[in-house]
Point group: C2
Chain length 213, copies 2
DNA sequence: CCACACACGTGAACC
DNA sequence: TGGTTCACGTGTGTG
């Protein structure tokens, strides 16, 4: 190790004051000094870089379920897993358009947009119809019967109409297309139950109101 | 530098037939062989280790909003931020007890349980009272007026009673204690508006029904 | 002794 | 040019 720094930087020859110390290289003393200083600089900069990286790694160790003795590689592997996991959990929990419209609507779409498909199937179901007090209980019953887990629910009411947007997760063992159709049909029957008791004469109660601004 | 590759891999001295090539070292030829093989092994193992770490770093690069040319250190800094952010987002989006009780209740608690206090203030507000159709719009109006962002809303109705559990976030510039009291008072007035029109004679409509099983 | 993981100093490459 | 980042081979410590 020592010979590295020796032969690379500290070699100096043709020193005017100590000509015998220098033998085979043709650098001037000033060139020597400069090279030496550069090497020292380089060494210190590299050390700072290592410290910066390691400090971030230590920080990550405190954020994950692992002690301070876990490998760098294992730690990074855990980090990768955790980021993927958290990303999937939160990717669908974002802004949705929840303002009720004047026309009844049912939409059920697959929302598994991220690449890592190792999680559950995620759907976004939207139901827009006249408001009624039993709507939510009925909706809950439907989700329960279909074994769907609600990750997020947004509800907005405006002028007697309501829009409910649900992000739901189905277990992996279920078929994606089937689950979508079941949910669509169930919501359709729910909407049919509501029709006939419309009350369009209600005045709008205010401006845009949404659960998640 | 050269002597590294020289003595490590490509050179093969310690030839039994040229013992004089080794002069000042006291190792026997077999010892030399073993040392050389060990060094080669070591070199290769270290390379594998580097590749393992870098492969995880590359994987992380694909998971974050950054190109493939970002620094290791900057990348790790981004990862730290992202994990903290996602952790906070999802730490509060977990199971909550949402079954309505027979007694009216209002609770507002600070839910900023994670150490990193650089995020928004997070509260969990729970309101349990008789169900009425205007409850949700009124609740939305309150959150809007207090500039609170709803991260999660759970609602359950059971036998004409309802429990709403909200996880809300307040901007950093607001005072934590003040926001809690404002929210508590607003919910109290909301509950007062409901009282007087109770309808306890309603039969329970079913068993436990909750939005998020 | 060997397998493993880490820090170090250095040359190369890129602005 | 100098400043910064990377890969490399090596020394060292721990199990």
């Amino acid at each position: 190790m020592m010979q590295q720094s020796f032969c690379s930087s500290s070699d100096n020859n043709n020193n005017y004051y100590h000509p015998f110390e220098v033998s085979e290289i043709t650098d001037t003393p000033s060139q020597q000094d400069r090279a030496l200083a550069a090497l020292k600089n380089h060494k210190e900069a590299e050390k700072r870089r290592r410290e910066r990286i390691n400090s971030h790694l230590d920080h990550l160790r405190t954020l994950l379920p692992c002690n301070s003795k876990t490998d760098k590689a294992s730690l990074l592997a855990k980090v990768v897993e955790r980021v993927k996991e958290l990303k999937q959990q939160t990717s669908q929990i974002t802004q949705l358009e929840t303002v009720p419209s004047e026309t009844d609507e049912i939409t059920v779409i697959s929302a598994g947009s991220d690449i890592s498909g190792e999680g559950r199937l995620i759907f976004e179901a939207s139901l827009c119809c006249e408001d009624r007090s039993d709507l939510i209980p009925d909706l809950i019953e439907i989700l329960k019967s279909l074994h769907l887990k609600t990750l997020k629910a947004e509800m907005a009411t405006l002028g007697g109409r309501t829009r409910n947007v649900l992000v739901v997760a189905a277990e992996k063992e279920h078929n994606s297309i089937e689950s979508i159709h079941f949910l669509q049909n169930s919501l359709r029957s729910l909407l049919d139950r509501s029709s006939g008791c419309n009350d369009r004469s209600k005045r709008r109660r205010g401006l845009d109101r949404r659960m998640m601004p």
